[in-house]
């Protein structure tokens, strides 16, 4: 906490998951940083890429299996339609607290100056092309490029 008196200058947020709760957590953290005058950049890797994939970003789900906080027996959570049900319930609650949907949230992040990067390696692995991705994506970069973006005092990295 000695550098910059512990002041946070920049948040580098890595999103590796595509479950709705993780994507929203990452988005709220990035947007919240900008609101406080802190720079923010996001790196979408592995399943996290789905949050910036044009066709997939509208269909993200809450995890009902392996998620004890959902308070549903694992066997039940695995039944067909359960994820969709839990997701639509959560989306309704989110609308009530003025939480934007994924696409609108990305627009807010881009307009707020959050840099949005896709991981090159994961893009190749999933055979995604730049044109498949959200239009305001800043680029497809390597992990090394991402670290370079985060250089300087007061940068913090977060893996979700």
């Amino acid at each position: 906490m000695n550098e910059f008196n512990g002041e946070i200058k920049k948040m580098m947020i890595i999103l590796s998951k595509a479950t709705l709760e993780n994507v929203y957590a990452a988005f709220v953290l990035a947007n919240g940083a900008r609101m406080e005058g802190i720079e923010a950049e996001m790196f979408f890797t592995f399943f996290g890429l789905e949050a910036v994939h044009k066709k997939k970003l509208e269909h993200l789900h809450v995890a009902t299996v392996g998620n004890p906080a959902i308070h549903m027996p694992t066997m039940l959570g695995g039944l067909p339609g359960m994820e969709a049900l839990a997701t639509s319930m959560m989306k309704k609650e989110m609308e009530k607290i003025d939480m934007p949907d994924i696409h609108e949230f990305l627009d807010i992040l881009a307009a707020s100056g959050v840099k949005l990067w896709a991981c090159k390696l994961a893009m190749e692995m999933f055979h995604y092309k730049k044109e498949d991705m959200y239009e305001n994506l800043d680029g497809v970069i390597t992990v090394g490029d991402f670290y370079k973006q985060g250089s300087g005092l007061g940068t913090h990295m977060l893996f979700i």
Binding site: V28, G32, M35, D98, I108, S112
Partner: protein, 102 residues
């Protein structure tokens, strides 16, 4: 606590936000903007007036709502008040700091 702003003794909280909007006037706004290194243009005033109206109507302010205001979009809002726009603009406008996370 009391703070001397534009030659007037003004009631503010520990973060420097006015606690009595009645004590706010344009010269107070201009002085607070100067503290935030912002030169107020007509566009700034349009946004500040909008924020004050929303506050008077007891609307909870958030970045999302400002984006939908029709007064300013999010990109311009950040351009007008570059460092923590919602916090800075509400302080200049003499209204409380919004408790919003979005």
């Amino acid at each position: 606590m009391e703070k001397l702003i534009a030659g007037k003794s003004i009631e503010v909280n520990e973060e420097g936000y006015l606690t009595k909007f009645a004590q706010w006037d344009k010269t107070v706004g201009e002085e607070l903007a100067k503290e935030a290194n912002i030169d107020l243009s007509d566009r700034h005033w349009e946004v500040l007036n909008y924020l004050q109206t929303e506050h008077k109507n007891e609307v909870a302010l958030s970045i999302r709502r400002i984006g939908k205001s029709g007064i300013v979009d999010i990109k311009e809002f950040y351009a007008l008040f570059p460092n923590a726009p919602l916090k800075t603009a509400t302080k200049i406008a003499g209204i409380p700091k919004p408790a919003s996370c979005i």
